[in-house]
Symmetry: C2
Amino acid sequence: MSGSNFQFFQLFEHESSTYTYLLMDSESKEAIIIDPVSETFERDFRLIEELGAKLKYVLETHVHADHVTGAGKLREKTSCKVCVGSGAKISCADILLDDSQELSFGSFKIKALSTPGHTDGCTSYYCEGRVFTGDALLIRACGRTDFQQGSSARLYDSIHQKLFSLPEETIVYPAHDYKGVTSSSIGLEKKFNLRLGGGKTKEDFVKIMSELKLSPPKKIEIAVPANLLCGQG
Amino acid sequence: MSGSNFQFFQLFEHESSTYTYLLMDSESKEAIIIDPVSETFERDFRLIEELGAKLKYVLETHVHADHVTGAGKLREKTSCKVCVGSGAKISCADILLDDSQELSFGSFKIKALSTPGHTDGCTSYYCEGRVFTGDALLIRACGRTDFQQGSSARLYDSIHQKLFSLPEETIVYPAHDYKGVTSSSIGLEKKFNLRLGGGKTKEDFVKIMSELKLSPPKKIEIAVPANLLCGQG
């Protein structure tokens, strides 16, 4: 599925259970990072240095409410550009990505898929048989829809139209997992996702989401304003 | 590197920071699991059921001192065989693996590499461009050598002769990581491993290991006797 020059690292931040992803073309050394976290900046920047990676882009899947992004720190240390979906309305970003827009690193391309619903500007990214789903699609779950312009009906449409239409063997890499699972596949989520799988209708999904009764994320008052400034408020 | 029928899952147990690996041939559905943990048996067994996997083997990298294995529970629920390195002397095991011995699942083979030093019976496993190193080689670190027949000199030889001789791009999947990193490569560890990398000699390594002054693992009194009975003492 992947060319032999495709190098891939999944990294985990324990406090917010966030996954960060580093993708590199090992020939040209051009690299991108998805959803870096401020707290693990030192670890991630050391790996970038050890690999000799030329960090070209930081891609955010959305304006996170549970952790502060490491994007701004990485932009200070490298010549990378910070990229977010155009719906996210982050004025500090260098590139606002439209649906289906592609970015290249070395000989590889990564494609933005607009997947709003958890937030207005949620964007998934597809690259080399993998889809990075942010908080739109989680493993056997999905992002909440009760704040930050959330809409269950819109999230259902995003997941069905943009993600469940990918090949079943596509590997799903989410922004979080709380049970120690690191990946899934589109085929597994279509069958077994507890909120969306097994042919659940939009009405089923909206009802499930409306009954979740979740408490607000601990860091939302700090994280959202900071992330609107690329983590450097 | 991998055939398209190669399906791979990395799973994490938070209390002991242990990685479990599930490998499957998605055509025949034959699968193996490496280092399952008793506490996450339900999660892992559910994934096996969802995949429709036929679990053929449980492979242990060694007699763990920090967690109880899920091997026995999996053997009760499936027809799998429990496999350990012949040096581990576990009487409950079904198959004792010698150095270089191979097992097959579907169209894939996995090869035992005897890597003693952390314990007498430590075994790494090579499959499809990946090496599962147990506690022999960790990311930028290695297993301790101060109990369970540990020997720093022996561990140095194992890592140099059996692991550092693999192609540099081989992906390293260890039994643990405490910093949220999920993989490395042989090339990165040869350069940057803090105890072994950058051309450190056996004398350097033995000195580093002798000065670590680690406290004993919290669960050793429970885990080792239980694991000598495949987790079902």
